[in-house]
Amino acid sequence: MKKTVDEALAQEFGLTSEEYARVIDIMGRTPSLTELGVFSVMWSEHCSYKSSRKWLRTLPTTAPWVIHGPGENAGVVDIGEGYAAIFKMESHNHPSFIEPYQGAATGVGGILRDVFTMGARPVANLNALRFGSPETPRTRQIIDGVVRGIGGYGNCVGVPTVGGEINFHPAYDGNPLVNAMTVGIARKDRIFLSAAAGIGNPVVYVGSRTGRDGIHGATMSSAEFDENALAKRPTVQVGDPFIEKLLIEACLELMATDAIVAIQDMGAAGLTSSSVEMAGKGGVGIDLNLDDVPQREPGMTAYEMMLSESQERMLMVLKPERTEVARKIFEKWELDFAIIGHLTDTGHIVVRHKGQVEADIPLDPLAEQAPIYDRPATRTAPPAPVADIHAPLSLEDMLLKLVASPDLASRSWVWNQYDSTVGGQTVRRPGAADAAIVKIEDTSLGLALTTDCTPRYCQADAKTGGAQAVAEAWRNITAVGARPLAVTDNLNFGNPEKPEIMGQFIAAIEGMGDACRELDFPVVSGNVSLYNETRQPDGSTMSILPTPAIGALGVLEDVNKAIGLAMQDNADIVLIGDTKGELGQSVWLREILGREEGAPPPVDLKTERRNGDFVRQEILAGHVLSCHDLADGGILVALAEMVMADGVGCTLESPASGIRPEAFWFGEDQARYIVCVKNAPDLCARAEKAGVPARVLGRSGGSDLILPSGVTISAARLRTAHDSFFPALMAS
């Protein structure tokens, strides 16, 4: 199978004519097949961020506590006591549609490697998921596979899965989103980077063997390449969490020695991107001899090995005199270990196989001349406000319907398949607080972790939606008493070559950037997933809702001060923040009136900050028994969630707000929290001083939620409604 390299092949590989011309210019000749493969993956959207880079650069990425921002395998922040938290989120959307179990599983595997490659022991996983209409059988299959896959991988490697989020919308029918986040912990002075150094130093391959998995998964289908080979060339990668677990332990053991100069996981575009990036960052050349690459299948070509996306592999540059120490460690863990090359001073990557030079590419132009596009963008006009609102049902019927609706129903069916306690450090499991809390062993520190995004807000107004996603994440971390430190993002959008999609993308980033700046919440890592579109039977394409998922991290200096969201007995219930009754794009509007309309609730970042800082202070001062931030579903849904958590009820007062009841109870105004306190008057006095609106909603006690009308809904009844959605869906 000898393919001639020409422009047509370059196009099959996903390069444009101009890009191919640039390749020829850099090489000064027609590239070899392997070289073309290297260029095409390095210049793919996935590796080069060619449509997004210009805009990503506008995000704030620094703060005194940021140790490494974007550009490394994951973001690194100082959390105190000599420790750093290392975290990142990454998508595996397309693979999860093709093969939900393996797609999601390998997504978890990939993000774990991004984190432990920097020297961190992974301590928590989260996952942000978006599925199509729950009614379709294919959605159920995808949910089943994705949840099993995330659990199958995370449970086996022994990293607790402590949080995440799930939304449903028909826009995800052909494009489910699987965004996985990993958080790890390292000593602040023991962080490993990927820049190679030391001419002559050995380049070492460890982990699983290389097979023909996922070759060119990112840029083209291999079917066109050679039809007969399709069966032999699975684009689906199969994960082996057992090997990953060994790899984590072996790498951490090696990292405790001083053998490593640089290390990088082999992610997308495997050996190509890892070797090119390590050498490129270090400003050195690299020679690889593929004869020495551990191979799973006979007869693999250089092209196949360079582009394989086989999982559970890492590339390292070692100090030559420590190579044997390293080899012993990997032998102990029964993993492949091979010296496959060395660093050079040529500034080129040279790939040899069976005595032939299969590729010889200058690294600087490969990186520096990678395309960057400033794609045309059009902004979508903000939607008109909603009008003609009326409540067709009683308050209790609407509440019961909402807590059972797909986006608000209990996710316990999902998280009960994820090991959330392994490690013995999980202080708050899923559902117990707005952010999950994981203690850092041998310290008093706790990490607060969450993922957030409200895609329907982003669809209506991408800028507000981008800001809201960041604000909600910040609020969730604040609500447990933690100090928000930094975020990672996963920007999931449609085809950037469409001006309106590019417009959404740019607007969402503007909103995110504004919020991150105002809240001192820099972006330290992230991932972009574009082209999330499905061709419709009529030839048109359907794009997903713009989904800039935010993963966020905060720290508690004293983890004992963390609080949860469960209603506490015999306490005052106070609402913090102002309520205007924003029903545009609300869950209420969609679930009760069947309308997806209006403008999302405005995000006022100064208010967000003031209210949040106040709540956090109150929590850390020990005045707050429990706290829940307000989001989807508004006040009444939040109260119901607090009641359901531990079965402690409450009696609500008439709001006398001058707002329509449904707008008061279900409006999704931002920057709000509900707190349980022993002494409401004192809290309200302090709030007034701080310029923070606060009002008493009622008192806790009993086991019923009692509405101002006197109508009583038992915690048990709420729970039945809340808990039934997932099991019923998945049993059908």
């Binding site: 093709i98 093969e99 393996q102 699983s208 097979g211 023909r212 998995d213 069966a231 032999k232 060339r233 699975p234 689906v236 990668q237 199969v238 994960g239 082996d240 057992f242 090997i243 799973r296 299948e297 086989s310 999982q311 029964e334």
Partner: protein, 80 residues
């Protein structure tokens, strides 16, 4: 009719189980093992009394549910 559906990973797809078992057999003192592949058997008792029909039915079940054709192949065998 009794029908046996055998499901195996496609050639080239990583078989983590097979790999681990092969490894374990080596350390257990079976150096003569060169490769291990793991598969699934689904034995079906079908009402049908016609071998032809039973096979067709089983093939349909296999491609719709029993095998994941993205990564697996299957064979059907009528046991009688």
């Amino acid at each position: 009719m009794k029908v046996r559906v055998t499901v195996m990973l496609k050639e080239g797809v990583l078989d983590p189980q097979g790999k681990a078992i092969g490894h374990a057999l080596h350390t257990l003192g079976f150096p003569g093992v060169e490769a291990v592949r793991v598969g699934k058997i689904i034995d079906l008792d079908l009402k049908s009394t016609d071998a032809q029909a039973a096979r067709a039915e089983a093939e349909k079940m296999a491609s719709e549910l029993l095998a994941n054709l993205v990564i697996e192949d299957f064979t059907v065998e009528v046991l009688g």
